[in-house]
Every structure is written in structure tokens, then in C-alpha cells.
Subunit: 212 residues, 2 copies
């Protein structure tokens, strides 16, 4: 309800709601993780940046890992929402499916590699907060299934088990969305354009397989 007020300054944090404070902690922590790296950022650094005491941060998050979990969850929620927006948009199912996979690849490239520092944060999230990742994988796979069911209903795709088809599409494009594999491609100096071209070829093959 304070939306018309200027951004909460450290001095008046007493008037911020708990949700606002959580957001500020997450924003500040995310900025530090990007700038300094996840491993090198301490809760004390986040507190200092916010003009808070570490004890105050611990009232909201029991650990740095818990802050990272919240950041990972909201980053992935944004990507998942975008996937659903495409899944529910107008247009032929094959085109929506292609756009979803292409966008997912681009977001992963962006999340993990446009800012190299973010990589250890993602790695930590993948080992410590697998449930967050699992929900994301489940959500995006359900969006894929939605489009495949649409495609079957409109006669674009052959009749098949949409759950199995969505899982197969997901697994067949893992080379383009899994952080470790993307990192490997980058490490072996495969350019983003080459990766994108490879992905288009795989999508062509998958769409050809789904088509009626």
C-alpha cells in the first residue's frame, strides 16, 4: 500500500512490511551475488549494503542459502510464466513449441552466462535447492504438454501420449538448457550462434517427429 512512496531507505525500514523487507534483502543479495559472486558474499555484506544488522536479516532468512533459494525461485518463476504466456498464446502449436524451446535456451544462456558471476549461485541452487529446480522443470514440462495437446487436438501433431512426448522433448533439448552442458559448450568456445543453430536443427527434427 506504500506504492506511491519513494523506495524505502535504511532509516525508515520500520515502516516497511515484511514482504517489502524480504524483497529488498533478495534484491540486494542478488546484486551482490552478481557483482562479487555467491561464495564470496557473506550475510554481513548484504546487511551492510542495506544498513541493517545481520540479526535483522536472519529474522527473515535463516541462512545465505535460504536467500539464494528465494532468488532462484523468483528467477525461475519469471521464466516459467514466460513459457506459459507463449504456451497459451495464439498461433500454430509447432510455432509455439519452437518459440518456447528457443526462449528457454536464451533465458538459460542469459541467466548463467551473460553474468559469469551468477554461475556459482546457480550451482549452489542446483545442489542445495533441487526442489525449486524440480518444480520449475515440472512447470515448464507441463507447459510443453499443453502445447502438444493443442497440436494433437488441432491435427498438427499425431496422436501420442502428450505426457511422454513433453518429457521426451524436454530431455532431447537438455543439451541446450542444462547449466553444466551450456558451460561446457561455452568452455569449448562454441559460439552462442552455433548453439542456437544446433538447437534449431534439433527442434526441426522433434517437430518432424511430432507431426501428423
Amino acid at each position: 500500500m506504500n506504492s506511491t512512496q519513494p523506495e524505502t531507505s535504511p532509516g525508515r525500514r520500520g515502516s516497511a512490511t515484511p514482504d517489502e523487507t524480504r524483497h529488498r534483502i533478495e534484491d540486494t543479495a542478488e546484486a551482490l551475488f552478481r557483482r562479487i559472486g555467491y561464495q564470496k558474499t557473506a550475510v554481513a555484506d548484504i546487511a551492510r549494503e542495506l544498513g541493517m544488522s545481520p540479526a535483522n536479516i536472519y529474522r527473515f532468512y535463516p541462512s545465505k542459502s535460504a536467500i539464494n533459494e528465494a532468488i532462484a525461485a523468483r528467477l525461475l518463476a519469471g521464466v516459467e510464466t514466460e513459457q506459459w504466456d507463449i504456451a497459451r498464446s495464439a498461433g500454430p502449436a509447432p510455432e509455439r513449441l519452437r518459440l518456447m524451446l528457443r526462449t528457454l535456451h536464451q533465458r538459460h544462456i542469459g541467466l548463467f552466462f551473460s553474468e559469469r558471476r551468477l554461475h556459482d549461485m546457480v550451482t549452489a541452487a542446483m545442489t542445495e535447492h533441487w526442489d525449486v529446480i524440480k518444480r520449475f522443470i515440472h512447470g515448464t514440462q507441463t507447459a510443453l504438454r499443453h502445447v502438444i495437446m493443442d497440436g494433437i487436438a488441432t491435427g498438427c501433431f499425431q496422436r501420442t501420449d502428450p505426457e511422454i512426448a513433453a518429457r521426451s522433448v524436454k530431455q532431447a533439448t537438455l543439451a541446450f538448457t542444462h547449466p553444466v552442458l551450456i558451460a561446457e559448450c561455452v568452455g569449448r568456445s562454441l559460439s552462442e550462434a552455433e548453439m542456437a543453430a544446433d538447437l534449431e536443427a534439433v527442434i526441426d527434427l522433434l517437430l518432424s517427429g511430432l507431426r501428423a
Copy 2:
């Protein structure tokens, strides 16, 4: 030419050819890597096991890493030969392609996970001897291309660029052949049977995409 003689014992290594000695070093090192682990095995351990001096081993291999490279190369050469045997066998191209991908998955599972100790040896090979891995990837992908070209020639597969198709098939099945991804599936207690079922579904989709 010594094939009818009993296995060379440490005492008569003077009569062994350099190739025989290399084989013995590799066999012994591989056994130790499997038993103790790559990181924990020293060249001195390999020498002791063979009744040789470390200096004698260094005459053949400049480092433990070089021994690992030789072991990785011959392990992968065996898998590649098997892929080519299937690629050149009789039978419809789609069946050969399925068998190749299924066998490749099983060999990776076997190499990396039937003996957990081997994992750090594989990891070391992947970071230190990427050329060996690259040649293997190139070789198996060429075998895939061979079968796809056969399939196009016999009218099983639609006309397409076989090089691109082979690359796509390779990338679309990376989730089932990449050590890191297999390790992740194992770590998340996906059973070998579940992974195999997932792979069959992906192969079905890819074959459907390749078919005329």
C-alpha cells in the same frame, strides 16, 4: 609373436616388447584406478604392483595423466568399434540406429557407474584429454551419419542433410550419454530402467522425425 607363451612375469620383463610393457602398465593402472580411484593412485603404486621401478614407467609414460589418456583412448576405441559394427550390420536403418543409441547409453552407464571408482578417472580424462573425447564423439557421430545415409538411400528416412541429422541425434540423446547428466540422474535416484525407458521414448520421437 609371443602369443603362445604365458603372461609376462615381472622377472622376465627384459624380454617384453615396448608395446607389451605399455599394455601391462595400462592394465595394471586401470585395475588400480578402478580399485583405489584415480586421484589416490600414484605412479609408484603402479610400479610396485608391476615389480618395476617408477623410472621404468616414466620411460613409457611421462605422467599418470598420460597413462589415463591411454586408458581412456582404448576404452573409447572399444565402444566406437562396437558402434561401427552395429552401423555396418544388416537390418533396417531405424533398427540399427536404435541399437546404436541404446548400446551407447548402456556402455556409458557401465563405464561410469558399474564401478563408481572409475568416475574420477573419467572426469580427469574429460578435463585433461578433451582431444581423446572429441575424437570419440566425432567417430560415433560419423557412425550415426553412416546409418542415416543408409536409411535415406533405402527410403526409410526422408531426404535430409545426414551430417546435421547425425549431429542432432547425438545432441538430442546427450542426456543419456553425458557422464554429468547420467550422474545427476543416478544421484536423483532415477533407476537404470527408468532412464532406459526415457531413452526409448526419445528414440521413438527421433526415428519418427527421420522417417519418410
